[in-house]
Symmetry: C2
Subunit: 426 residues, 2 copies
Amino acid sequence: MTEKSDCMQIPQMMDALGAAARTAAAQLALSSNAERNATLQSVAKLIRRRSEHIQAANQDDMRSATQKGLGAAMLDRLALDDARIEAMATGLEAIARLPDPVGRILAAWERPNGLQIQRVAVPLGVIGIIYESRPNVTADAAGLCLKSGNAVILRGGSESLRSNQVIYQCLHDGLSQAGIDPAAVQLVQTSDRDAVGYMLASMAGSIDVLIPRGGKGLVKRVQEEARIPVIGHLDGICHVYVHASADAAMAADIVVNAKMRRTGICGAAETLLVDRAAATGILPKILAALTDAGCTIKGDEDVQALFSPVEPASEEDWSTEYLDAVISCRIVDDIDQAIWHIGHYGSGHTESIVAGDAEAAAKFLAEVDSAIVLHNASTQFADGGEFGMGAEIGIATGRIHARGPVGAEQLTIYKYVVRGSGQVRP
Amino acid sequence: MTEKSDCMQIPQMMDALGAAARTAAAQLALSSNAERNATLQSVAKLIRRRSEHIQAANQDDMRSATQKGLGAAMLDRLALDDARIEAMATGLEAIARLPDPVGRILAAWERPNGLQIQRVAVPLGVIGIIYESRPNVTADAAGLCLKSGNAVILRGGSESLRSNQVIYQCLHDGLSQAGIDPAAVQLVQTSDRDAVGYMLASMAGSIDVLIPRGGKGLVKRVQEEARIPVIGHLDGICHVYVHASADAAMAADIVVNAKMRRTGICGAAETLLVDRAAATGILPKILAALTDAGCTIKGDEDVQALFSPVEPASEEDWSTEYLDAVISCRIVDDIDQAIWHIGHYGSGHTESIVAGDAEAAAKFLAEVDSAIVLHNASTQFADGGEFGMGAEIGIATGRIHARGPVGAEQLTIYKYVVRGSGQVRP
């Protein structure tokens, strides 16, 4: 298959792959939940059975990546061990256990003329996933697409191509075993970056929606160049706002968890806003807890005056996604200033208010225009699994089709089914 | 205001307009249904009160258009008389009576850790509408956007600019009267086509979704050039498929209605498919009824052999949207060939099966992948009003966010509101 990509031109190769996916999508859309679940279970078994083969390919990828001088963080993302391979398999089995997102009757009503109208969930069609180094995305993303009846075109990072090829083969064979056209999953088996450009600009006929998964650079490129609808998220500049009415211990627990539980995920808090009225009473306790947990504090002058050590925060800090043990902290005059700050510097991802006052909480939840708004809970709950949606393919920060965690349901759209008895329109 | 567009550069003018709409959208999103309805009612009153003023501006538009040699159909679309102005006003009042699409709880559940999660409908934000000659779109589209809490940037056809300006002034003043920032409705007051290019390519920060309304050329340009999500539809190549089990009289009624009730709407049938088994029994009756109604028949050789007069249909006919009293007709071997034909030549808009056999109907409804599929009913029901959704801004044939009639509900998205009591993520 690699040879194919070497000797064919990108447009021909990609068009062939797109056409195959489109044809398979039509069949897959009509498959039963049982058939799709059987596929996922077969793929999980194959991934377990071929674990050594996957790890051998991954070792090749790791060697090349090391030679190319990839950093430790990138290498860690690329690496597959027994535990990560088992996690791929159990992830697919968990997706198989999710309720069927296809065929749900989203609404049903009858018209005065007797027409029976139903809005019924159907797959989106063909989903293009463009992702970076983590090879587990190959299984996770394909699994969610298949569960929701979508064909998928996968374009992983060039550094993980060999790992992806083996995992892709498991997907392919699992589809075959379940009697579904294996063309429903396609892997772009070339590291030529033109393939990505072609997906973005020239495959509107064969890809219905693009989902980028990866760093800011990738997502930005996809959102700027794509001529196909994109479900993606740029930044996760998440805020915790501590209202004057907050319980001090609860505020400290939530802030420390929101920032420090895992600093590298998009739902990690990056900025702490605290009411001036709570600044002397609550803020030092929160900052001490953060410091104890190993977090660096950057703050405005008011914060620097209240606690030490605090590094000065620059204007840029308010719109920085640290993804690290660093938090920016600002004292605000009131809830309106907090809401303004979030609207101005935030990325529309996830924000939390800690407050005892119900009115303040209601105002925050209504007026903050982010995909997820929380009251008295950590921003780290911004996760499809934590929402009870099973797996997720990412958190959408765009404003159409889906916002927040994108799970199997969000990979569907609907059609209208109308049943009559001879009605004509007057 | 026209002077402004003459002396300012397009980018500055459009950016100013986008920024104003974005600011107004934030306020509008928090307005009450009562405030938005009061706006719509005020605008309706102003449109009635300023009817003469609107008609005077429209006369100017008509004169320029006549001088430019616009065709009769275009002139008819452009013209506003008492009845059309009254229809705009009553249309806005009808939109005001629709249920509030904002704030609907789309789903709600509790997690084992006690988190209460709600998916709540919120406005999309700022909607860009690019449309052609009909000036009534100015009121209709803005009305739906306002009802659903969205700010709107309107870019109408240059030939209707003066009519649009007066209607826009009614929208502006109606918003002011209701205490809502009038910047929530913006009209691009220049006929410079670069303004459209700028909207498509450079306003991703201030427009959340684009809705083109107009001919194929416009919609195609928008879908090809836009760097902003588009909700639109290209063609309405709608099919009626008459199954062997169809009742002959019902089939003739539905086909004649689907084709001839109004030939110029996107839900009008363009192709008739008839089972070979029903060809001699039913088809001549249908074709006679169509001919009696003034319809020209284009058919394959089988059809030509069965009925006269039938013009030969070319390959191109199967993918032609006549929007006229012409129908293409093909005899198919069975339902599978019919479904294949619709998938191959159709545009994913609206298709109907006429059948007595429940199994055939179920198969058709499940397997035809169009926005609207009907059983024993006319394709001309493809309409938001006929679906009971009130007004519509168009019929979407894309696959993300919305399919089928786009009404006030479809102009919303959602956010997640999560209520806790101090939960942190383990």
